[in-house]
Symmetry: C2
Subunit: 341 residues, 2 copies
């Protein structure tokens, strides 16, 4: 990775945008020129990066002139500007769901399917946060024993709903503790001291879009449509890091000890599983990290080849920003930036 890239961040003012900057810095991503863009609402704001000050510009088609990589933080910006970026020879790494299931667009988790970066046609999609966290834990199990079916229930932090989600949890919790009220705004119902079994909109068969993402994106990332996933996704009053209770039916038998070993050896995974010391992953202690934490690794004897895992990961870092920067690193590693036109 001697090459340096010209990088533009679209949506630089939000939580994911800020985290993208943090991670580019931490991972010493080789930047030649950096440009920060956002909507007109945030344009003009000053942001510091590696000791230099940058002014956020309003995104236009021409924001991508001469740029190599555009990191889109989310929302509809990639629909509005993604094609213009690609036309100008700038590879789009898109954190939104806009292109994820497009068969022309690779959907990449570097620990799982890094090679899929190579066939990009200008856009590479960053998967859903819950899905990224799950597949990093599933991949070593899949490689060791195959996977037939996954039953997953999620416990998702409010920061999955952005800064407003965080602010609503804080303000509402304060109000409740002081005996007052704080009506829900970002969430459909009160989230303080409550659970909401509803993330994103409802779709086919009464599953939410979030639940369908975990089903369909997993199959695409793993390049295996035979993996059956059923999901129930739930918002919990936790600030950061998504947690997942995952039941797996493997094709061949994998003991708990074997599962622990393949997970411990896997890239991007940290096994936290010492029940004698009350050690298992918890969202409070896995936030601001880049790994996926796996614990409560148990055989499930209700089926021939069953496993239960408890998996936790920071959904803003590994579930979004870190994964996007890792994809950018792969673009340099595999030398698959685009020709400027």
């Amino acid at each position: 990775m001697n090459k340096k890239a010209n990088v533009v961040i679209v949506g630089a003012s939000g939580a994911v945008g800020q985290e993208l900057l943090n991670i580019l810095n931490e991972r010493e991503f080789p930047i030649n020129k950096l440009k920060l863009c956002a909507t007109s609402r945030s344009a003009g704001r000053e942001v510091e990066f590696q000791g230099k000050k940058y002014i956020i510009e309003e995104t236009t088609d021409d924001s991508f002139n001469g740029m190599d990589i555009a990191l889109f933080a989310g929302g509809k910006a990639s629909l509005d500007f993604g094609p213009a970026a690609v036309e100008r020879g700038c590879v789009v790494i898109d954190n939104s769901s806009n292109y994820r299931m497009d068969p022309e667009v690779p959907l990449v988790v570097p620990e799982v399917n890094p090679e899929d970066v190579k066939w990009h046609k200008g856009i590479i999609a960053n998967p859903n946060c819950s899905t990224i966290i799950m597949v990093v834990a599933l991949k070593p199990i899949y490689d060791a024993a195959g996977i037939k079916r996954v039953v997953v229930s999620t416990y998702q932090a409010v920061s999955g709903a952005g800064k407003e989600g965080i602010e609503e949890l804080t303000a509402q919790t304060k109000a409740v503790i002081e005996g007052g009220e704080y009506p829900p705004n970002k969430f459909a119902h009160q989230i303080a001291f409550n659970l909401i079994p509803h993330i994103d909109v409802f779709k086919d068969m009464d599953y939410t879009k979030e639940e369908w993402k975990m089903v369909l994106e997993t199959q695409k990332i793993m390049n295996d449509d035979s993996i059956a996933v059923t999901a129930t996704t739930v918002r919990v009053p936790v600030y950061r890091s998504h947690s997942e209770s995952i039941n797996i039916e493997t094709k061949s038998k994998l003991s708990a000890a074997e599962a622990k070993k393949v997970l411990a050896d896997a890239p991007g995974v940290i096994v936290q599983d010492d029940i004698s010391q009350n050690i298992y992953p918890m969202p409070l202690f896995t936030s601001n990290t880049d790994e996926v934490f796996v614990g409560r690794i148990r055989e499930d004897n209700t089926i021939e080849n069953g496993l239960n895992l408890w998996v936790v990961g920071d959904q803003i870092r590994k579930g979004a920003a870190t994964n996007a920067v890792q994809i950018a690193e792969l673009l340099l590693k595999y030398n698959c930036l685009m020709e400027k036109k």
Copy 2:
């Protein structure tokens, strides 16, 4: 139910004891004589019930003289005094786990196996709270289509750990919001804005005792050892009502519409499932109720006969006190109190 009973509550000073009194009152349980007992620590405290004042007495073997029904709120009291109560012709309804798996002791959820009350030999066990909430929802599915396997992940409220659990969540949440700290005491780790995948002690195969209860008690209550249950139990920062994400493999096909119908018709169940109006069960709104709330009823097409449910119930009421009082009602209905000796 014309007969009136002499009722003693053992552990009258705690959260479940207080709730037992509330429910005896609400359900107009026919009480002749009422006696309130607890450890020496609480003895002497005054409690009002239906306009009369009662002094809590220290429990002794003779507390049960002349009494018909003893409601034990929990802990080891039923080990210390249960046999003495039975010797005196007083039927024990025990909310602890002490006798639940004893083959000589019926384990009863009135909506599921009321007839099991009839073969008691002096002690009837009240099941684990998470198990009660689950089996009330499972029973109508079981009757309609049979059940092969259940994968359950729980979201359990802090009041499952008693008053201290509630106080710890409040004090710790306040401290965190004010930027301070409040070290864990009742729980193994901070519960404010966190999740702890660990309830009760660790046992065989690295499952917790809470998880094993959901496996073994379900089979006993349903009188069917062939029902395979695998559980992951998790503490969440919610005050009251346990929630459960339940995946069910039935023996024959049950559509989501059929499942909704049998659940809506089942005793003790309220279906809350209108996603067009964002209606689904949530712990905040199901607390202080006696029913089990079921929503997010979906077919799971990853297996031939699959269903997903989201189930919520007040674990202090239906999960403990209400269920115990319902058992007492069955004792009167079936006329199976004991002869005084």
